[in-house]
């Protein structure tokens, strides 16, 4: 699957990554912007995500709804995502229709109008999206955990933003955020699928080269201090189920230790796929924490999560408790397992297993052209495309000694947040 890719940089600074895949008459086209909740300031949380929504609200060339119809008619699909470090927009289309994607993305890179009435109707849509999230206990716990895990870094905020900020942000704020961050020199264009690279580059020049570069006014976060003592947070809400979550400060994606933590995650809670589309997962029933918690009847389920980010983010362990057990008891079991790993070297065969799991997950993900195009741009947002190409090899370089060292460095109680969701009777 690691076929040749072609990389170019347009004069206006737009980074272009192309990968020809001729297995199906499909092309997937992605534009990635280096802006996300990481770049938001106090009082404006959620603005990147809301701007992403506004990008579907029309330009002088394409009125709202026109593109939805045009893409759907061609049998394509499109969507957008906002994350901590980035915002991305994609279209996957039958190969002979792809010029529409280039036309519309180059157009809305600079020409979106953000009509005031659309801003207001989208305000309630975004608040409704947030209210849907709030119905989930784990969203509420996550929100509390993030703000406990970071003192000042914007990673402490939910990407969707706080309710107060969603009520306060105005059209001018949104439009200024758009103008500050959406330009060719702050973007990566990634296209994978059934095309000839020379012909595709011609199309790219036609649509993207006329857009002028301009100064990017992205707000960059300051350094966050280390956690030096264990933080605690507790959320109460409806239900009968208790959840425990641990969040350790993790290395950045570009740090060699990231790969070591990935293997540790695989050992503790099972392999996590980084595929955004397709692939599915691998179960985690032989992982250490599943055996210690679920098999020993302390918990119903356990899983882990590590995100590839620019600044140090979090490695999470999430546990759904079995009724009748206290979170403190479960925490003790987790710490025992981590201590055991910290004290003795694991056999090399366990690393080999994690590598094979990663190889399988990448193979599953490579069935899908949309997912391959995703991989062509995503690593550029926190490192470079080579990060992806070298991923399996980097896992191969992890040694039992590196695992022990990383466990001792990163998975210390004083460097974590312990979060508990406790059910309570809610008055009707």
């Amino acid at each position: 699957m690691l076929s040749e890719i072609r990389q170019e940089k347009l004069e206006n600074g737009l980074q272009v990554n192309l990968k020809e895949i001729h297995s199906a008459p499909i092309i997937s086209h992605w534009v990635w912007y280096r802006v996300g909740s990481r770049n938001e300031v106090a009082g404006k949380t959620g603005i990147s995500h809301w701007v992403e929504h506004m990008q579907f609200k029309g330009t002088p060339k394409f009125a709202p709804g026109v593109l939805d119809r045009a893409i759907s008619r061609d049998g394509g699909f499109w969507n957008a995502f906002t994350f901590l470090d980035w915002t991305t927009f994609f279209e996957t289309m039958p190969a002979d229709k792809i010029s529409l994607a280039l036309e519309l993305e180059s157009d809305r890179m600079v020409n979106s109008t953000f009509p005031p009435e659309e801003v207001e109707s989208e305000r309630t849509v975004v608040i409704s999206e947030r209210e849907g999230n709030e119905n989930e206990p784990l969203f509420r716990l996550d929100e509390a955990m993030q703000s406990a895990a970071f003192a000042s870094h914007p990673y402490r905020n939910e990407i969707i933003g706080s309710v107060e900020d969603l009520h306060a942000i105005q059209r001018n704020d949104l439009y200024a955020h758009y103008q500050s961050n959406y330009c060719p020199n702050n973007a990566v264009l990634a296209i994978a699928g059934d095309f000839d690279s020379d012909e595709m580059l011609e199309l790219i020049h036609k649509y993207y080269s006329p857009i002028a570069a301009h100064a990017v006014k992205t707000h960059l976060p300051g350094d966050e201090t280390q956690l030096t003592s264990e933080q605690h947070c507790e959320v109460k809400g409806p239900g009968d189920t208790t959840y425990l979550q641990l969040a350790y400060r993790a290395p950045t994606a570009a740090n060699e230790d990231f790969f070591t933590i990935s293997v540790i995650d695989s050992l503790l809670t099972g392999p996590s796929g980084l595929n955004m589309f397709g692939g599915g997962g691998i179960s985690n029933k032989t992982s250490r924490l599943y055996r210690a918690l679920v098999e020993k009847e302390f918990a119903i389920s356990v899983y882990g999560g590590l995100q590839a980010t620019i600044d140090p983010y979090l490695y999470n362990i999430n546990v759904t408790l079995r009724p009748g057990h206290k979170p403190e008891q479960v925490l003790g079991v987790i710490d025992n397992e981590i201590n055991r790993l910290q004290q003795s070297l694991i056999p090399q065969i366990e690393i080999d297993r994690a590598v094979k799991q990663a190889r399988a997950l990448f193979a599953y993900g490579s069935e899908n052209i949309t997912n391959q195009a995703f991989w062509l741009g995503y690593p550029e947002m926190f490192d470079h495309y080579e990060w992806f190409e070298q991923y399996v090899e980097k896992l191969n370089q992890v040694t039992p000694q590196k695992i022990q060292t990383a466990l001792q460095e990163y998975l210390q109680p004083q460097k974590r947040v312990v979060g508990i969701y406790l059910p309570e009777e809610v008055a009707a």
Binding site: D74, P94, T286
Partner: protein
């Protein structure tokens, strides 16, 4: 509207190989060497329609327990083999079927098929794992009881389908799961799991003959002499007037709404006109007319769309939306307005052409992954659509007219006889 679709690239009789083994197992396979992986998908015709009413969830419980131990392998061995290979396998029950799906690198297909066969044929349901799983299922049901979307959906099905198995949740209720014993699982498996109603689809980097060889080796000699005739299913009747129900769930920011009526069976002639009509009503683009009214114009919901669920014995046609409690009635009114419009006038030629083009154009996209192909091939078999169905698909879609959509809509949609369920905090 003329749209070119190269039917030769679509799965069809030329490249789907189908074989029925002497013991009744049906195998369908299609090779794809673009990626070094393989998926399996399939079902046995055993589902919640067989659940006794006081033990709802039995088929689901049995399916969930198949991998907890077999005569020759314990739980740890089963998952150690799969996970070490980066492979996955899982079972789950719906109303008519217990389905399975799995994937592995192509080199590990024999491991995957052998595991599938062992879990289907020789599960032992160890007591220890039965007990553990029961607590896990009960906890899932406690979580479900707090989920506004799920509670609205379950209540909707109960009110719409009544005593029919479609009206009962496949995962049961807390009190019915509590009543199930290990012996129930053992008996259920012995009585209903049969090779003759097993269908297996394999798609990926493997030749058809290799697929047949590995399946025959581990499943070719499976026999089950027990023959139990399931009871007839009750007749599904439409409600005679609108039923409105609210499920109170305290402490929730959002109220979820499910509103709808009966829909056609999958094999009904009404299915395609209803499906295209459903697309116009609540799918196309940003969720069709209802998305446009509720989300885009009124800004009331992040999600407002329709779905057509067509099964063997019947189906449902549903509108779903998540709204702030204060906007609930406003959203219901907007949806009713759209439903009335939908049965008063035919969809425009343009609207229908949009959805037709979408259906035809997206077909190759739905078939790009092995899992997508396997799912489509399985549906061909499940609903007896014919191996050339996908190749005939564009023609069938183009044949639907606005009049046919209107006629079908009027047959199913009666806005004075709806089921309307909301779940969320009381105002």
């Amino acid at each position: 509207m003329t749209q070119f679709l190269d039917t030769r690239s679509l799965p069809g009789p030329e490249d789907i190989t189908r074989k029925v083994l002497p013991n009744g197992i049906t195998i369908l396979t299609r090779s794809n060497f673009n990626s070094p992986s393989v998926v399996i998908s399939g079902y046995v015709a055993v589902g919640s329609y067989l659940d006794p009413s006081d033990k709802l969830g039995l088929a689901h419980f049995t399916a969930s327990a198949l991998m907890r131990g077999t005569k020759s392998q314990n739980f740890q061995t089963i998952f150690d083999k799969l996970e070490s290979a980066g492979a996955s396998l899982g079972f789950g029950a719906s109303v008519h079927n217990t389905s399975f799906s799995g994937r592995s690198l192509a080199e590990d297909l024999p491991l995957l098929i052998t595991m599938l066969a062992d879990c289907l044929r020789h599960p032992t349901f160890p007591q220890e794992y039965f007990d553990r799983l029961q607590v896990q299922l009960l906890t899932s049901l406690s979580i479900r009881a707090q989920d506004t979307t799920e509670m609205a959906a379950i209540t909707f099905d109960q009110l719409l389908f009544g005593d029919h198995p479609y009206g009962r949740p496949e995962d049961g209720f807390i009190e019915t799961i509590q009543k199930i014993t290990r012996t129930n699982l053992v008996d259920f498996h012995r009585e209903y799991y049969h090779p003759k109603n097993l269908v297996i689809v394999v798609v990926g980097a493997v030749e058809a003959q290799a697929v047949f060889d590995v399946i025959e080796a581990v499943l070719g000699d499976w026999q089950n002499p027990v023959q139990i005739q399931p009871a007839e299913l009750p007749v599904i009747l439409s409600p005679s007037k609108t039923i409105r129900r609210h499920i109170e769930l305290a402490g929730k920011s959002q109220t979820d709404l499910t509103l709808g009526m009966l829909g056609p069976k999958r094999k009904s002639q009404d299915y395609l006109p209803a499906s295209l009509g459903n697309s116009v009503l609540g799918q196309f683009g940003m969720m069709g007319r209802i998305g446009d009214a509720v989300r885009v114009k009124a800004g009331l919901a992040y999600d407002a769309s329709t779905s057509l669920n067509a099964w063997i014995d019947g189906g449902s046609w549903e509108v779903g939306a998540g709204v702030n409690p204060v906007n609930l009635q406003k959203a219901i009114d907007l949806i009713l307005q759209e439903l009335n419009h939908f049965i008063e006038e035919p969809v425009t030629n343009e609207e229908l052409a949009d959805s037709q083009a979408n259906y035809i154009g997206r077909l190759p996209l739905s078939l790009e992954s092995n899992a997508g192909v396997a799912n489509s091939v399985l549906n061909l078999e499940r609903f007896d659509l014919g191996l050339d169905y996908l190749q005939r698909y564009a023609q069938s879609i183009r044949a639907v007219t606005p009049e046919a959509v209107l006629e079908t809509a009027r047959k199913y949609i009666h806005t004075d006889a709806l089921v309307i369920v909301s779940a969320g905090t009381n105002l």
